[in-house]
Symmetry: C2
Subunit: 362 residues, 2 copies
DNA sequence: TTGTAGGCGTTATCAG
DNA sequence: CTGATAACGCCTACAA
């Protein structure tokens, strides 16, 4: 009942019979004190169950020991893992992470950054829709709040822990070419709000050109389409000439397989599929997914380490892209036939109803 | 260069030619002010790009508008989604989330809680190893910091957003029984540090008994074993009598399938598998996973909403368990044979080498 | 309507 | 070695 809400250093000082300054020195092991008062203070602190208030400290020291972290969503394991890595790294140095997600919305991005800045974060870890043109991010810069991006390809002004999206995508194009694919597609979700996705497409298209392949087809889909195999199947049917699809992330790639199955197409013979990210489950699928394997947790770690340098007043260098690997899987092979108008899959499952109706029954 | 580090309300007051109290009133739309000074203050604030310091406010108001969130790991999508849901819900009311993960370690749990408390969080959202016996959690209670657990089955003293682990597990036992399985196994990871896992096992075992099935076999594995199909296969081989396995989460369930494939066992005929959680990819697998479907994001939301009540001084009621559903999949069927010592899979793939050697080549 | 003053919890400064 | 005291940024009486 008589619970004094909070025990402050004042209480400790009083209990120890000394001034607050002395108590502060003892408890912080700064300054010096006679072993006698030291003892009394420590005893009092223990008895009272004293703990410093980080808020009071922050106000006085102008350091909140808190880092703000903005990402699109924790529901995407790629971002969640990056945050996990960053959090571990920062905690070692005593920093806590204030996490917020924008749900891929540019306005929310700015609102969150503003709030984070108001909370006096000492640094920022950011993945957002449009970092190049964010008033809030500029404000962070103006206030000299060290900031490190994550996932974004290099941008003037901020370091970014990233994998070269264009180069990784180019690797996919080369693989496709090597296997004899010509008509390819790039399946994208939230193309408008993801520079990562756009950069992947650009890199993919450029390398297709370099490999003398026709320009890849850009297929943009909505979240609903991605989550409903039958609808996705319809969308794929609009591009019967494609023999290989590069999905902008692994979930989409898996969805493509599902949709293909629905239509009686065989992956990879009828349609090859390659993903991006390299999430763990891709490897556990019956038909392990060919994909670009990245290491989001390492990305978060790298971002955190760089930020730590900035936090200590150092200069944050531009970051070398993290390595990626092409994970070989069972979803990429040579196309069944070079003839684009072949009635694919028919030989395998002659009993399958016409595609359109089949799609509808999905 | 001449960047004054921070613009405070004092600066605004000076620029507007008035006292700080007036500026505060105007900017907070509390108290009243002549429309004239109001104008001047707002103008000044805009010109200077003023923003309140949450730290100063927190110190003064004794409200940090921050909620601490402790979970085992963001690398587990189940927790990540819960945090996502909670974050969205809390942001609506102006709260930010301070997130930290313990990596399933009980000591770290306490360290983190202590730090969070020192940061003056207004409330706590917690999933930890041992909530019943945590000094830090008790301290939170002592300080009257509203706390809501997540994922834990009801515990005296704290509300918890959860699914009834025992009941869900019982449902699996009933399904197994209905399909004619008798010898079953429960595959667990981190059994010692997860009351969720233990409660699932207890519920499963109890219902097996109720269904007149032999007691289920408890198979504990390490993370390494879980991630290496060939090793997991070896572990499974130690229990040739089992026809059905209940995995304590979906990832394990998928791993079991992988391991089974490696040995030439057919899922579900040779071995039925049911998971827990209901992660999205389970549905996208070639062989959709039978599992207990839960809604982690809703759990996070519920926890946040309850916490919000506590944050507003209300009484936090005990929470009704969230509903779960048994997701029918292709990994559960009647066992191929009732005879436990049948050489399973042999009929299907006579060319498969003996199990042991097959395992090793994995 | 307005401004002054005190205090939230800490620490750094500066006399004793 | 020790203890007032003045910030840190803000808000809320209390006065004017």
């Amino acid at each position: 009942m008589a619970n004094k809400t909070r025990i402050t250093i004042k209480d400790v000082a009083r209990a120890a019979g000394c001034g607050v300054a002395t108590a502060s020195r003892v408890l912080n092991k700064s300054g010096s004190a006679s072993s006698e008062t030291r003892e009394r203070v420590e005893q009092a602190a223990r008895d009272l169950g004293f703990a410093f208030s980080a808020t009071g400290r922050a106000l006085q020291s102008r350091k909140s020991m808190t880092v703000g972290c903005l990402i699109p969503s924790l529901a995407n394991p790629v971002f969640a893992e990056a945050v996990q890595g960053a959090q571990e790294e920062l905690r070692k140095e005593g920093y806590q992470l204030l996490v917020a997600s924008s749900n891929y919305d540019g306005e929310t991005d700015n609102e969150i950054l503003t709030t984070l800045l108001a909370k006096d974060v000492d640094g920022l870890l950011v993945t957002m829709v449009d970092p190049q043109d964010s008033s809030a991010l500029n404000m962070a810069q103006g206030r000299n709040v060290p900031t490190c991006l994550m996932f974004h390809d290099p941008l003037p002004g901020w370091p970014s822990a990233h994998v070269s999206n264009a180069e990784a995508a180019a690797e996919v194009a080369r693989r496709f070419a090597r296997y004899g694919h010509r008509r390819t597609g790039f399946l994208a979700l939230r193309f408008a709000t993801s520079d990562r996705s756009r950069n992947r497409f650009d890199g993919f298209r450029a390398e297709c050109a370099a490999q003398n392949l026709p320009a890849p087809e850009l297929i943009e889909i909505t979240e609903t389409e991605a989550n409903t195999p039958s609808i996705l199947a319809q969308r794929l049917c609009e591009h019967p000439e494609l023999t290989a699809i590069f999905a902008s992330n692994d979930f989409l790639a898996i969805a493509v397989q599902k949709a293909a199955n629905l239509m009686g197409w065989h992956v990879p013979q009828d349609l090859s599929v390659v993903g991006f990210d390299g999430i763990e489950v891709g490897r556990l699928l019956d038909r392990p997914l060919a994909t670009i394997e990245t290491t989001p947790e390492a990305m978060g770690r790298q971002a955190a380490q760089t930020l730590l340098v900035g936090l200590q007043g150092g200069e944050m260098a531009e970051l070398t892209p993290l390595p990626f690997t092409f994970r070989v899987g069972a979803t990429l092979s040579t196309p069944r036939t070079k003839s684009p108008d072949d009635d694919r899959g028919a030989a395998q499952s002659p009993s399958v109803p016409p595609l359109t109706s089949n799609v509808k029954q999905g």
